[in-house]
């Protein structure tokens, strides 16, 4: 199995980036869901074929010519091809029962190597099926290292093991129909799996699922946030005040366990304006905040756009340095003040692609401050509004 998978479908040599993790689960959840959705689509396509049609599933497509998968099918004789075609179509309803029907399929991840016992010894495998528990156990690391056709092939292969043929479980060992020899069962299942996956790829019906993997996924642990942030605040003297400063922020969040983590942010704003006819006022604010962050993923379908969207709550200690310059042609005042407080905000993130996100948010801070040489006090709780882009990785 391992050698076969390594050789299959090398045109997908650029393995798809692992970009989705299921709700609260591991990073492979989304990839698994995508692969299962693709497999379901493949068999729905096969089911729509007329059972008596001349379409051969177990055939080599020209685009896969000279590939190991084709080589494997090419060596089938006419009788084996027909048997393979017939069996795929026959088993399709059973597989769809597992994927979209009443039967409950459970996928387990394992980080251990999977050894499968056979009559002539054990062999290393990427997945193993337990019919009695309706469970497929998959080596997570190896699964995430596969390209999409490889993943589909693996799942199709294991799903065939859940089906019955002639009232017997489909197994790797022993002859089945014209597939003779001790590994006849495996040869048949491999031929059916390769044919089914090629059918799915050839029909184009599974293309759209690939976009799910390109969409940013919220399972990342390290995030960088870049935002444009505006404030609304009130002051004692509106002549000098910048009650609606706009600035930029650069933040980083790191999720340590589950959806809890730490956050740090740098925010900077520089505003200037003319006062009366010759006075110029300029205020520069810099703040650094350190605090806690929590990521809330309330939506159930991680394959959907909304399903990937999520909320982030931040609470942080913020220290701000504010600098004001007041000048006219005859004099200049420079005043600095340092203040601190607690800042809290909530953000809503929407996935874009390739790890990038767009977000909007609002928050408030307890920071208030006054200048000594300039008659200006900001004496209300500032409210923040911001929008920006994020990049999640690791």
């Amino acid at each position: 199995m391992k050698s076969l998978l390594l050789g299959l479908f090398f045109i997908y040599s650029g393995a798809q980036a692992s970009t989705f993790i299921g709700n609260g689960g591991s990073g492979a959840d989304l990839e698994m869901q995508v692969a299962l959705s693709q497999v379901q689509k493949i068999f729905e396509t096969i089911q729509r074929l007329d059972k008596n049609s001349n379409v051969n599933i177990c055939r080599c497509r020209s685009r896969f010519e000279n590939q190991p998968s084709c080589e494997m099918i090419k060596k089938l004789d006419e009788q084996e091809v027909k048997f393979c075609d017939k069996t795929v179509k026959a088993q399709t309803p059973q597989i769809l029962e597992w994927l979209a029907g009443s039967k409950s399929l459970k996928i387990n991840w394992t980080s251990s190597e999977i050894m499968v016992g056979q009559k002539h010894g054990e062999r290393l495998s990427d997945a193993v099926t337990n019919r009695s528990e309706s469970t497929i156990t998959v080596n997570q690391k190896r699964f995430q290292g596969m390209n999409p056709p490889e993943k589909m092939f693996l799942l199709v292969h294991e799903l065939f093991h859940l089906t019955s043929f002639d009232n017997k479980p489909m197994e790797d060992e022993g002859p089945v129909g014209p597939f003779k020899g001790p590994d006849g069962g495996r040869d048949l299942i491999n031929a059916m799996s390769a044919g089914a996956v090629m059918e799915g790829l050839d029909s184009g019906s599974i293309k759209k699922f690939q976009s799910y993997l390109r969409r940013s996924s919220y399972d990342k642990d390290l995030w960088i946030d870049l935002a444009v942030e505006g404030q609304s605040r009130t002051s004692t003297n509106n002549t000098y005040a910048f009650n609606n400063p706009v600035g930029g922020s650069l933040g980083v969040r790191y999720y340590i366990f589950n959806n809890f983590g730490v956050t740090a942010k740098y925010w900077m704003s520089q505003q200037d304006k003319g006062i009366l006819t010759t006075i110029k006022g300029k205020e520069i604010m810099n703040s650094i905040s350190l605090g806690l962050t929590y990521k809330l993923t309330p939506f159930s379908d991680p394959l959907s756009y909304i399903g990937q969207s999520h909320f982030v709550f931040n609470v942080a200690y913020e220290q701000m340095n504010s600098h004001y310059e007041l000048t006219d042609p005859f004099q200049e005042y420079k005043n600095d003040v340092t203040s601190s407080g607690v800042r809290a905000d909530v953000r809503y993130y929407l996935p874009i692609r390739w790890g990038f996100w767009g977000f909007v948010g609002a928050g408030a801070s307890t920071i208030k401050y006054s200048y000594t040489d300039i008659p200006l006090s900001y004496d209300s709780t500032p409210v923040f509004f911001f929008t920006g882009v994020s990049y999640g990785f690791l």
Partner: protein, 408 residues
């Protein structure tokens, strides 16, 4: 041909531009008292310096009071109708000040509270003789009405009367002043001098004056002198007149001179010019005293003569193209703040014209001159003023930021 005309026009323009203009002191003539100014004098009647100066800040259009001893801004008074020109007069001790604006007079106390704003004018106030030590003020307006009033020590107007310009028979006022006795001395159009008793005039609400003739004709400026005397400038003469004997005590023939400056600060005096020769004419006791300064191409726009302290301080400016003169009328402004570039403050010892100090005044500033200091209020919206010592090398003392809290 057309090009010749153009060259001729340009030549004439250049000639006009590069020719020294004679000062125009017409706004100092035909006044009662002194022309109203946006700054109060900083010099007391006795020549000493007041503790504080009041100034209408043309930039933020409010009245500031500064302590010139401590170089501190004391207060700012937001005056009524700030958009129009405001002129100020104050008492020696600063317990109240008078604000003239539009056709109205408002009196504020030292705290900036309005004490009295009952007085209105038909014309625009143009000059006033103010003797707070005597509690008397006479205001002359643009329509030649004379408003006479008594003001108590707290700044309340206790009596007032509006008189016309005809004082005696059909003779109208040409110029006037209030003397140390509280009498309003007036030069009339028939070349007579009228001495009006302010108290009686207010009581009877009609001019109560005695007149006499001196033989001096065409008087256009009158300044009260101590000891019941007066100094007058007529079209041809400058003379000292004794009100007691009703006769000319001393006179100077000014026929060939042009008047450059008429000043009542502190000792009344007249500055005459003949080309680049300046003649300072003042009264020394009962006699006319003249002193000559030669080689004086710069024009004097402010002058303060303190005879008892033997000092003469003036501000002069260039008079050529770079001076702020009105190109169309040819008028050269002759008030201290009407030209705000190239101003130089000079101080002479009056007795021998030894130069005691000469230093440039800051451009653009509103200036107030005292015996010790030159006060300069810059057109700063945040507020910026400096106090320069006139005779010492002491650096300027700065007052700044006094408008910061007031900008809304």
């Amino acid at each position: 041909m057309a090009s010749y005309k153009l060259v001729l026009v340009l030549f004439c323009l250049a000639l006009v531009a590069c020719t020294a203009k004679e000062p125009d002191n017409s706004d100092e003539e035909h006044n009662i008292g002194q022309k109203l100014q946006p700054v109060s004098t900083i010099t007391k009647q006795n020549g000493q310096t007041k503790n504080s100066v009041l100034i209408f800040d043309e930039t933020i259009r409010q009245v500031h009071r500064f302590d010139v001893d401590k170089a501190q801004h004391i207060s700012t008074v937001p005056v009524a109708n700030p958009g129009v020109p405001h002129t100020l007069m104050t008492t020696d001790d600063g317990n109240y000040f008078v604000d003239f604006y539009d056709r109205k007079l408002t009196i504020y106390n030292a705290a900036g509270t309005i004490v009295d704003d009952s007085m209105n004018f038909v014309g625009t106030p143009r000059s006033a003789a103010f003797r707070p030590d005597l509690g008397v003020i006479a205001v002359y307006d643009s329509l030649m009405n004379v408003v006479i009033a008594k003001i108590d020590l707290t700044g309340h107007i206790t009596q007032s009367w509006v008189g016309g310009s005809v004082v005696s028979s059909s003779n109208t006022i040409s110029a006037g002043d209030i003397n140390d006795s509280g009498k309003l001395i007036l030069a009339l159009s028939n070349d007579t001098i009228a001495v009006a008793d302010v108290t009686n005039t207010l009581s009877s609400q009609a001019w109560q004056a005695t007149t006499f003739s001196t033989g001096i004709s065409g008087v256009n400026w009158v300044a009260a002198l101590p000891n019941n005397k007066m100094l007058v400038r007529s079209t041809t003469k400058i003379a000292v007149i004794d009100l007691g004997t009703q006769s000319v005590v001393s006179q100077f023939d000014a026929t060939d001179y042009k008047t450059e400056k008429l000043s009542k600060l502190v000792s009344p005096h007249v500055i005459l010019r003949k080309n680049e020769v300046v003649t300072l004419v003042s009264a020394n006791g009962g006699s006319i005293d003249t002193k000559i300064l030669t080689n004086q191409p710069r024009r004097i726009i402010y002058s303060q003569l303190d005879v008892p302290n033997n000092i003469w301080t003036f501000v002069d400016v260039n008079v050529y193209w770079n001076v702020n003169y009105d190109f169309w009328t040819g008028r050269i402004y002759n008030q201290i703040d009407e030209v705000r570039t190239s101003r130089t403050v000079k101080r002479y010892r009056h007795s021998d014209f030894a130069v005691l100090a000469s230093k440039g005044a800051p451009d653009a500033a509103q200036l107030v001159l005292s015996k010790e200091y030159l006060f300069a209020l810059q057109p700063s919206e945040l507020g910026f003023a400096q106090l320069f010592a006139i005779t010492t090398s002491e650096g300027p003392r700065t007052m700044k930021g006094f408008n910061k809290d007031k900008i809304r």
